[in-house]
């Protein structure tokens, strides 16, 4: 590399473009002050003449009195911080310095970029570090060890930015160049841990341990990866277990429905998203969640519990029973529900004994009355009953109310034989 030179042509207010003593870009550590030799009479004389000029004319390139501080900061020597990117248009002096810094053979240049990258890395400026390492890699120098270091360091910078894939690619590249490069092996293993490929992580550690059997970081990472691997395997088993259980429940539920002869309302094809698996159709319709998310389930005795909807057309009200045991009777529920008058029943017409229960067969638009003494199972087993949206629903009217009479006046209704 060229030795930086020190200029002696310094004026009190202006700094020459030529380079100063530079140790690293952006870090102006020292500069040699101008030393005037008092014995050199001739120089003194020139200097005096030079200074004399400014009494009459303005010095070219002088700072503007208002913005001098800003301008001052732009001069390489007085910069407090180097810009992260150097634009040769705006800062020709800096660009010039930089080009001198990165002079020499590809190896020397690559090394300078590595050093630069390391400076950035220390400051946690990972993006800039990556740019520097990339420049170094681009030099494609013949020193494979240096190249391996450049890749490994770039991998580390990528790692800290969370770019684990890129980091892994770099660690892999470094390992190809230098198979026993410890830092590349550690970085690679750490990357595999991050991307949850624990088997590979363990493998990388084992490779590293072959060369460095006592390396703490490798031992640690291996133990960590192994533990995570086993936990991940457990999670897969757990998921499979849960799926299997769900599948078994589903099958048992399906056969329970089949045994009971309960019919499910079939969605006309094309109306909603197509269901391809015919066998699953009844179940999926069943489980299609209603607003509360409740759906039919089997209890420990294999009995079904349904979410049930009661509709009160007269008042536009509904009641939702999230788990209606198939062996309990309508009257049981009605007794509890109407033990107290609901707020909407201003006329006090709705009480357990005054209620009539119906269901509607949408297909034939016919209503069927249900005996309140009947169990839910008996109701849903009716040959015209269809379970819709997974929730059996029933209409409730106050016996002999005018609304009830009006409601059914133009409709087909099958009533129970009156007692």
């Amino acid at each position: 590399m060229m030795t930086p030179q020190v200029s002696s042509r310094v004026t009190p207010t202006h700094v020459s473009v030529e380079p100063f003593h530079v140790t690293a870009l952006g870090a102006w550590r020292a500069w040699n002050p101008l030393i005037m030799d008092p014995t050199d009479q001739e120089d003194d004389h020139v200097m005096d003449q030079f200074m004399e000029k400014f009494k009459t004319q303005k010095y070219m390139g002088a700072f503007n009195e208002d913005t001098w501080e800003e301008e001052f900061d732009k001069i390489p020597m007085f910069m407090k911080k180097a810009p992260s990117e150097i634009d040769p248009q705006k800062a020709p002096d800096l660009a010039c310095l930089q080009s001198i810094l990165f002079d020499g053979s590809p190896e020397e240049q690559a090394k300078s970029y590595k050093d630069e990258g390391n400076e950035y890395f220390k400051e946690k400026a990972y993006k800039q570090a990556i740019t520097s390492y990339t420049e170094g890699i681009k030099k494609n120098c013949n020193d494979q060890e240096l190249n391996a270091i450049l890749y490994t360091n770039r991998a580390a910078a990528q790692f800290y930015l969370g770019n684990y894939r890129s980091a892994l690619n770099d660690a892999t590249a470094a390992r190809k160049l230098k198979p026993d490069h410890l830092k590349a092996l550690i970085r690679g293993a750490l990357c595999y841990v991050e991307i949850k490929n624990y088997t590979e992580a363990v493998e990388w550690c084992d490779e590293g341990l072959k060369v460095y059997p006592n390396e703490k970081k490798l031992l640690e990472t291996r133990a960590k990866a192994d533990k995570l691997l086993r936990a991940a395997e457990r999670d897969v088993r757990k998921m499979r277990h849960a799926e299997k259980k769900k599948q078994a429940q589903k099958e048992s539920l399906l056969s329970a429905l089949k045994d009971r002869g309960i019919r499910i309302h079939q969605q006309p094809p094309g109306e909603e998203d197509e269901q391809e698996e015919g066998i699953l159709l009844p179940f999926d319709t069943l489980s299609s969640e209603n607003a509360t998310g409740a759906h039919v389930f089997q209890d420990e005795n294999g009995r079904l519990n349904w979410p049930v909807l009661f509709l009160y057309p007269e008042h536009g009200q509904t009641d939702f029973i999230s788990a209606f045991h198939e062996d309990s009777r309508f009257i049981d529920h009605l007794n509890t529900m109407f033990a107290e008058s609901p707020p909407w029943d201003e006329d006090q017409k709705y009480y357990a004994d005054s209620l009539e229960v119906y269901f509607e067969d949408e297909e034939s638009q016919t209503f069927y009355q249900v005996n309140p003494e009947a169990t839910l199972l008996e109701a849903v087993q009716h040959r015209r009953f269809r379970v819709k949206a997974g929730t059996p629903s029933f209409l409730i009217f106050a016996k002999k109310s005018t609304f009830c009479i009006d409601y059914f006046s133009s409709k087909k209704v099958y009533r129970l034989p009156s007692a």
């Binding site: 059997p213 006592n214 133990a223 533990k227 936990a231 395997e233 088993r237 757990k238 277990h241």
Partner: protein, 359 residues
């Protein structure tokens, strides 16, 4: 065999002899090496032993194979070990270096012979000396390499390692905390041949006699317990709460999960867990991690009486009361000689009828 005959045979084995004659003579020796008396007379002739080692590196694969078989036969006899090592000083180094050759076609025979040689404490001692730590590392690498030698299974590396760990020096190598040794053996408890698995379980059991290492073995660095329990666990369903007490490795196993097929290995695994119960801390950890559940299920599944008994002993430890103060470390309790005698007699009596049953 007559010593004179030995000498005659020796003359046939010389390199200048016709190949077919040599092969014939070797075949005869192979036959002789099958009986204890034959082995004794072969070992009485040092030159013959040296000639055998030379023949094992012979070009002709047939001759070399036979020579290796003679070596396996000879080493199967503990009485021959001393003579072999004394008369053929190059035996161990030469066999070890051929074992390390990934292209050696006789590596399995060599491995078997070496395993035989390491069985007795005395020869094991010299074995470890000529092996050194580096040699141990290589053995481990060979054991863990997916296919170190395409022409050999090297399954006897397992029992070899087990034999080597009968001595503290061998155990120190496996239990080196600054290296990754024992951890690398653990995955093989799930796979490989019965010979290999048995060897590795034996190695672990040997290592568990050193109670100072129990805390480390049971801790996060090694986490030995789940690896020992997994081969003993079946696919039984546990409740959610029970499942949570088990180590993750044993949770939600498939219904068709198979237990270790070999009863001896099952027994050794149980004994290893039992050894880990020697200290109070060890017992606490073993109890905490659902060992009882695994043993309970194993006990109802197990058909082999001796394994069932080992299982009962461990369960007794798991549900029994803590020993009184001063006796917490069961590996350090001194048992009076007369009591020890009684106990071992009782153990034998227990085994007695079983022996006939098994037959």
């Amino acid at each position: 065999m007559d010593p004179a005959l030995c000498l005659e045979l020796l003359s046939f084995l010389k390199p200048e002899t016709r190949a077919d004659v040599r092969a014939q003579a070797l075949e005869y020796i192979l036959g002789v090496s099958g009986s204890p008396e034959g082995r004794q007379s072969l070992c009485a002739e040092p030159r013959l032993l040296c000639a055998l080692l030379d023949l094992s590196t012979e070009q002709s694969p047939h001759v070399a194979q036979d020579a290796h078989h003679v070596l396996v036969n000879l080493t199967s006899d503990c009485a021959a070990h001393r003579a072999l090592l004394a008369h053929v000083p190059t035996l161990l180094p030469s066999m070890l270096s051929r074992l390390r050759d990934p292209g050696c076609p006789f590596a399995d025979s060599i491995c078997t012979a070496l395993c035989n040689l390491s069985r007795e404490e005395e020869t094991c001692q010299s074995f470890l000396r000529s092996l050194t730590q580096e040699g141990m590392c290589q053995l481990l690498d060979m054991l863990c390499a997916p296919k170190y030698n395409p022409r050999a299974s090297l399954d006897y590396l397992g029992p070899l390692l087990c034999n080597l760990t009968q001595l503290p020096e061998g155990r120190h190598f496996i239990l080196d905390r600054n290296r990754c040794v024992v951890q690398r053996l653990l995955p093989y408890l799930q796979s490989g041949s019965t010979v290999r698995r048995g060897g590795i379980v034996g190695t672990l059991r040997n290592c568990c006699f050193s109670h100072r290492d129990h805390a480390w073995l049971l801790g996060d660095d090694v986490d030995l317990l789940p690896f020992l329990l997994l081969p003993l666990a079946g696919g039984e369903e546990f409740t959610e709460e029970e499942m949570e007490t088990l180590p993750p490795d044993l949770q939600y196993l498939a219904e068709d999960k198979q237990r270790e097929a070999d009863p001896d290995i099952r027994k050794m695994l149980i004994e290893t867990v039992l050894l880990l119960c020697a200290t109070a801390d060890g017992r606490r950890l073993v109890k905490q991690r659902g060992t009882y559940l695994v043993m309970r299920e194993l006990h109802s599944w197990e058909r082999e009486p001796c394994v069932k008994r080992a299982c009962e002993k461990l369960i007794q430890m798991l549900i029994g009361e803590e020993p009184e103060a001063g006796l917490e470390n069961l590996l350090e309790v001194t048992v009076p000689p007369d009591l020890e005698e009684t106990l071992s007699r009782l153990d034998k009596e227990e085994e007695g009828p079983q022996g006939t049953l098994v037959q």
